[in-house]
Each structure stands twice: as C-alpha cells, then as structure tokens.
Symmetry: C2
Subunit: 173 residues, 2 copies
Amino acid sequence: MDAGIEKECGALGGLFQLIMTDMKASYPAWEDFVTKGTKLQSQLRTTILVTGSFLDAFQKVADMATGTRGATKEIGSALTRMCMRHRSIESKLKVFTTALSESLLSPLEVKMEEWKKVANQLDKDHAKEYKKARADIKKKSSDTIKLQKKVKKAVKTSGKEVCDYRIYTQRSD
Amino acid sequence: MDAGIEKECGALGGLFQLIMTDMKASYPAWEDFVTKGTKLQSQLRTTILVTGSFLDAFQKVADMATGTRGATKEIGSALTRMCMRHRSIESKLKVFTTALSESLLSPLEVKMEEWKKVANQLDKDHAKEYKKARADIKKKSSDTIKLQKKVKKAVKTSGKEVCDYRIYTQRSD
C-alpha cells in the first residue's frame, strides 16, 4: 500500500516535470513565431507603401487616358474603377497589418513574459510541495512500519500471556 | 474655296500635332508606372518569402500544440487548418506576382519601345506628307488663279471680237 502511494507520487511528479519540459521547450517556437511575425508586419508596411505608389502611377495612367482626345475616355474610366478596387485591397491590407501587430504579436509578447514567470513559479512551488509530500509519505510509512512492529510484538506478548494463563488455569484445575 | 482647303489642312495638321504631343507626354507616366510596378513586384517577392517563413513558424507552433499532452491536440489541428488556408493565400500571391511581371510589365516595356518607334515614324511621315500636301495645294491654287485670269482675259478679248463683228455686219447691211 505505502509503496503504491510512493509510486503514484513519483509518477505524478514525473508527469508534471514532462509538462514543464514541454512548456519550456515551446519558448523558442513562440519566440520564432513572434520574430517572424514582426518581420512580416514590417514587410507588409513597406508593401503597403509600394502598393500605394504603384496605384498612384496607375491612377495617373488612367487620368491620362480619360484626359486625351477620342474614345480613350471609356478606357480611362474603366482603369479608374480598377484602380479603386485595388485601393480597397490596399486598405484591407492596412487593417490586416494593424490587426497582426496589435491583436496577435504585441499581446503574445506580453503573454510570453507572463507564461515564463508563471511556469517558473509553478516549477518552484511544485518542487517544494513535492519534497514535502515525499517526506510526509516517508515519515508516515516509517511510522506505520514501527506501529506494525509494535502491534506484532504486543500480539506476541499477549498471546504468550494468554498461553501462560491457560497453562496456569489447567494446572490449577 | 482654296483658302478653305488650306485652312482645313492646317486644322488637321494641328490636330495631328496635338495627338502627337499627348502621346509623347504620356511616356513619363508609362515609365513611372512600369518602374513602380517593378518595385511592387520585387517587394511582393520578398513578401512571399517572409510570409513563407512566418507560416513555417506558425506551423511549428501548430505541430507543438498537436504533439503535447492533453486537449491541445484539437487546437493544434485547428491551427494547422488555418495555416493551410494562409498557404493558399501565399500561392495566390505567387500567381499574382508572376502575372504582374509576365503579363503586364514585361509586355508593356516591349510595347513602349515599339510605341516610341511608331510615333516617331508617324511624326516623320506626317511632316513629309504635310509639307508635300501644302506645296501641292499652293501650286494648285496659284495655277487656278492663273487659269482664272487667262479665262477672264479670253472672255474679254472674245467679247470685244464679237462686238467688232456685230458693228461690221451692221455696217455692211
């Protein structure tokens, strides 16, 4: 029974350590994710600027087509419409970039620091409590063994006494 | 009538010159468009690379969530699905970038050189033919004036002869 409890305690401690190791091993992946995300975000910002200047040039071509003589006016208005649709893509890209930074990367960076702290605290607390629990279990199991020995001895003694008493009563009969 | 033809010729020549000026003025806009487009294209290429490495990091996080113990397996598979959708955006971006370069910018560059050549040739041909046409018109109008004068003189002379003949016949009656 005691050996069973000790084994169970060891298994639970091992499981905790495994989960802890997994958590600590996950930091590099998260850090890599945040780094790559930050890179992507700055890249997207530049892309937005470049797309903006490309669309300005596009709009100039469209304006030129609208402004010149002849049937190019219709081509110009079609190009302007196309340009406006591209502008809506540009604005969606802006929203996405802002969301990537504000709703994913920044909170994740804050959380990561928090996770590290929490994990370290959990690790410390666990080590302390685990040690205490093991000591408790050891003490209780040695106490149990002592008590069992005492009981055995007492039973033996009392058994002998009973035996002596029987012999005594048989003799006195 | 002759002055009318000369005026019309001048107006048509002016219109041609106007269109030519418009065409020549459009080169900077087209060149700007191509330059900005090329920049956008190289920017998009870098963006594709950065997006790829971001998605790799994302996939690592998803794999980690799938691999660890507990209910994170489902989170992991959801993240993997999300990652795959982002990969499809990445591949669409690749197609767009290739199309931008191969179907818009490169043909446009080739066409621009062609346009310049054709416009210059048109300008030269027009100048030559315009000069010739003007000279023709001038010659023909001066010829017409000469002929008109001759006809007037002839009419005058023949009128006088008719008059003389009448006087002569009246006298002989």
